[in-house]
């Protein structure tokens, strides 16, 4: 019997797993995707929010602020790229300045310091800020993180400390046991556990409603983003967004923005559309056009417009979609589910969920400790062992790395300068990469301007070498997503040749 089973390996599940791995507990994480970080924690704006925006007194405000404060240490321990590059809400009208004032006040109430800027102050910091930008609200504690690197790192660290991960494992049923719960997955395997932690993202309502007397609903709220080439990062040093907009279906969106990504590309997005399918992250022309059209107008206000006067659509290298798990009550649902002792929810963790996640994980761990009173481990390891990305090394580090391991001198992904050493490491690490996309998420191989056109075949070969597969068995993202569908006739002739 497990002590704790965590359902979902997104930011909350991973943070909870990592926090609990400090204790002597038997812990399993069940993830329905073929890799960790397969849902909302993957397809988002990658922002670490300051916390001035949520309604004061809500759980959103509480965990946003607590989470934000954790990021420096967390990302240092786990070697995850994170920068407090600040966020700016840009006002382009007097009405906008009013919301800027309101947000500043709200920030004060939440304990988050922000600076109201007029045009002069804007120009002082960004001399090329466009005509028509009248002022804004700057939040210095806002930042950017690579969301999947963060979640993968937390999972790796948890695994290093003994947590077991079960991928491709979707919980289809939960039934009560005398002293806990029995979870059944789609293939019939069962997991008996004392406690369940529901971090199932857009599926959290389904799980809760199987056991709790208090039902809730998660509304999948779609948003799309565009990624721009590294070329533009020089002129995007901080996140700049419009003022928040209220949504007709409840809650609000922080709206469109331009963000430097922690990996050196630029992210644009996102819009907000209510969905019903909790797994539908397909991008739509409607969403893509909404972003493109928005930036065609908004671009002129941005500092980058001094270099690129018009939004350079040709600089877009990819688009992605994600679903926010919007709860029907407009605040996070955290704690033991009524009528279901030992079933704990961390549900409805929509934006700023990536920021709040680590703090929610700590809180979930506290709830578990209160119930099970476990001993602390003496040999807990807070960090992870990882090959530093070649891309981020200086010349001396590069020389040293190559001396130690010549695979560091073999560039596989030329656009992102990912070496063979990093790819092999990504496959060998705990919760290691098992597909082309999993390699991509861990190393950025295939994430650059050519999108894997040149390097994918080499990544396939490395997966084959490391995992003992044939190229026909390698998938793009797990289960049935095969990249190659057969052998060519030359291949077949070779076999019959004497």
């Amino acid at each position: 019997m497990w002590d704790v089973v965590i359902v979902g390996a997104g930011v909350c599940g991973a943070a909870t797993a990592r926090a609990l791995s400090r204790y002597q507990l038997r812990i399993a994480v069940l993830e329905k995707g073929s890799d960790v970080c397969a849902g909302a924690s993957r397809g988002n704006s990658a922002m670490v929010h300051g916390g001035f925006d949520p309604e004061p007194g809500t759980l959103k405000a509480k965990y946003n602020v607590l989470g934000n404060r954790m990021f420096d240490r967390l990302c240092e321990e786990l070697q995850v790229p994170f920068q407090r590059s600040g966020t700016l809400i840009l006002a382009t009208s007097e009405a906008d300045m009013k919301s800027v004032e309101e947000l500043h006040q709200r920030g004060e109430q939440n304990g988050v310091s922000t600076v109201v800027m007029d045009r002069e102050a804007l120009l002082q910091r960004w001399p090329t800020m466009g005509e028509g930008a009248v002022g804004g609200l700057f939040c210095p504690s806002g930042g950017i993180v690579c969301p999947y690197t963060l979640v993968i790192a937390m999972c790796e660290n948890a695994a290093r400390n003994g947590v077991q991960f079960y991928l491709d494992t979707e919980v289809t049923n939960i039934s009560p046991l005398e002293d806990g719960w029995r979870l059944t997955s789609q293939d019939g395997s069962t997991f008996d556990t004392k406690l369940v932690i529901n971090c199932a993202g857009t599926h959290a309502d389904r799980l809760n409603n199987l056991v709790s007397t208090e039902k809730f609903r998660i509304l999948p709220r779609f948003g799309a983003h565009l990624i721009m080439d590294r070329e533009y990062i020089k002129w995007v040093d901080t996140t700049i967004t419009q003022t928040p907009t209220k949504l007709p279906t409840g809650g609000h969106t922080k709206g469109m923005g331009i963000m430097p990504s922690a990996d050196g590309t630029v992210i644009l997005g996102c819009d907000s559309v209510d969905y019903t399918d909790p797994d539908d992250v397909a991008t739509t022309s409607r969403s893509i056009n909404a972003i493109v059209d928005y930036f065609k107008t908004f671009w002129k206000y941005l500092p980058i417009s001094a270099v690129y006067p018009n939004f350079p659509v040709e600089g877009v290298i990819n688009a992605y979609g994600g679903l926010r798990p919007h709860p029907d009550r407009d605040d996070y649902i955290i704690g033991e589910a009524p009528g279901a002792p030992g079933f704990l929810n961390a549900a409805g963790i929509e934006s700023p969920g990536l920021t709040a996640g680590p703090a929610i994980g700590e809180h979930m761990a506290e709830l578990v400790v209160e119930k099970l009173h476990p001993q602390k481990k003496e040999n807990y390891l807070p960090g992870r062992e990882i090959c530093k990305p070649f891309r981020e090394m200086d010349e001396q580090e590069r020389r040293a790395a190559i001396r130690e391991n010549p695979d560091y001198a073999k560039i596989v992904c030329r656009c992102e300068q990912v070496t063979e050493a990093e790819i092999r490491d990504a496959i060998r690490r705990p919760v290691g990469a098992r597909s082309v996309n999993a390699v991509k998420m861990r190393t950025r191989a295939g994430m650059g301007r050519c999108q894997g056109g040149f390097c994918q075949s080499r990544v396939v070969e490395l997966l084959c070498e490391e995992l003992g597969l044939t190229p026909l068995e390698v998938t793009q993202a797990g289960k049935d997503s095969y990249i190659l569908l057969g052998e060519s006739c030359s291949h077949r002739f070779e076999e019959v040749a004497p």
Partner: protein
């Protein structure tokens, strides 16, 4: 620091032709840097024929064409370094390079020839909406899987874009028993060569639909279908024209982009028109002593032209290192501008010096023109004219010019009449 007279970045057809020509014109201290484990570049995976008709008056396959180039490099004992990645080039012509045997090294060159070739435009850059399943692949990547590794990237294919590699792949897919449903092209004309449309599509009864595009990709694990729609004159999908085509693969052949990251690092001035370097008629860039040739300068249709252009650059680089060719100085040059119907013009500047060789201007028509003439204007008056029955964006145009006609001009303009 290691020194070299001429450093050539890229061991494909451009780099090899430049090296051979530089060697023939007296430069002996040459080094070719090649990222992969063999010379030849992309030619190695182009196993179809049709190469070399202009240069060798013979029909060769890609590997055969590459072999002839490699033989020259070996005969002349021109040094080359394989598995070597260039990390950086400075405006002072110091290259930081890396290979597993020697690790990181710096090389100071007197002249650098950029010959890195080009890459394919991927799905992401086209912003095709839909899911992100396996089975969306660019034509060159599919070609590599099929020809170099012996694997089929799909069994039922729709091809987006009528670029040459896509057309070549359509034919090869049919020969492999793969079903090619159709080719859809956004523009009302093809960006590929006429001979490829005839030999790769028409001969195999593969339909080519103009003014159409893929507006959605469907499928969870692997592509299950794509939705194709016709587009209007502004290239926007026309509602009501959507057709869903079942397939397991979407092959993308929608344009090539010069790989200029190193050029930019070196501070070379670029132009959006070709997405390559701005050059004078010696194909010298804005950074003195750095030259560019082949697909990194502008995307060609035929490797023969890449070789011939690169030979000229090799000669010029040899002259440069021996002091016979001056540093580039665009301010002292005659600017060449794109007039009506002309895009991707190369070179952008003409030196006001006396040269033995005639001047050649290359460009791509912006649309399809019938019974048209290419006209070169020097300060408004026509100095060269060439008639053509048909001009299309799929085939690069060139026009030769007598230097004496323009030496005193303030500006030269190329247009289609």
């Amino acid at each position: 620091m290691r020194q070299v007279d001429i450093l050539i970045v890229g061991g494909g057809s451009a780099g090899m032709a430049a090296a051979a020509a530089a060697h023939e014109h007296g430069a002996k201290d040459i080094l070719i840097l090649e990222r992969s484990d063999r010379l030849g570049g992309i030619l190695c995976q182009c196993i179809h024929n049709g190469f070399g008709l202009h240069r060798y008056q013979e029909e060769l396959t890609g590997p055969e064409y590459a072999r002839r180039n490699i033989d020259v490099i070996r005969e002349r004992k021109i040094p080359y370094s394989l598995n070597t990645f260039v990390l950086d080039i400075t405006p002072e012509k110091v290259a930081t390079i890396m290979d597993p045997e020697h690790g990181l090294q710096k090389i100071q060159a007197k002249a650098i020839i950029l010959a890195m070739g080009c890459r394919e435009r991927p799905r992401g850059a086209l912003m095709i909406p839909g899911t992100r399943p396996a089975g969306v692949i660019t034509a060159g990547a599919a070609q590599k899987y099929l020809n170099l590794e012996g694997y089929l990237p799909g069994k039922r294919v729709v091809i987006l874009g009528s670029g040459d590699i896509g057309l070549i792949m359509a034919r090869q897919f049919v020969m492999e028993g793969i079903q090619v449903q159709e080719v859809v092209e956004l523009m009302p004309y093809s960006s590929g060569l006429t001979r490829n449309i005839s030999q790769c599509l028409n001969d195999f009864n593969i339909p080519l639909r103009f003014s159409s595009t893929v507006i959605e990709i469907k499928g969870q694990k692997r592509v299950s279908s794509v939705v194709v729609a016709q587009v209007d004159a502004d290239r926007r999908p026309i509602p009501g024209t959507e057709r869903e085509i079942a397939c397991d693969t979407l092959l993308i052949s929608a344009g090539l982009i010069p790989e200029n990251e190193l050029s930019k690092a070196a501070g070379v001035r670029m132009t959006p028109s070709t997405k390559g370097a701005v050059v004078d008629d010696h194909l010298q860039t804005s950074v003195p002593g750095i030259f560019a040739c082949g697909n990194v300068l502008h995307v060609h249709d035929l490797v023969d032209n890449v070789s011939m252009e690169s030979e000229a650059v090799g000669r010029n680089a040899a002259r440069y290192v021996s002091g016979q060719l001056a540093d580039s100085e665009f301010a002292a040059c005659i600017p060449v501008v794109e007039g009506r119907g002309v895009g991707g013009l190369v070179p952008q500047y003409i030196c006001r010096t006396e040269e033995p060789e005639p001047l050649k201007l290359m460009f791509r028509p912006r649309g399809v023109y019938q019974n048209a003439a290419i006209c070169v204007l020097a300060d408004g008056s026509c100095v060269a004219r060439k008639k053509s029955l048909v001009l299309t964006p799929g085939e690069m145009c060139e026009i030769e010019l007598d230097r004496k006609m323009v030496t005193d001009a303030i500006q030269v303009c190329v247009e289609i009449q």
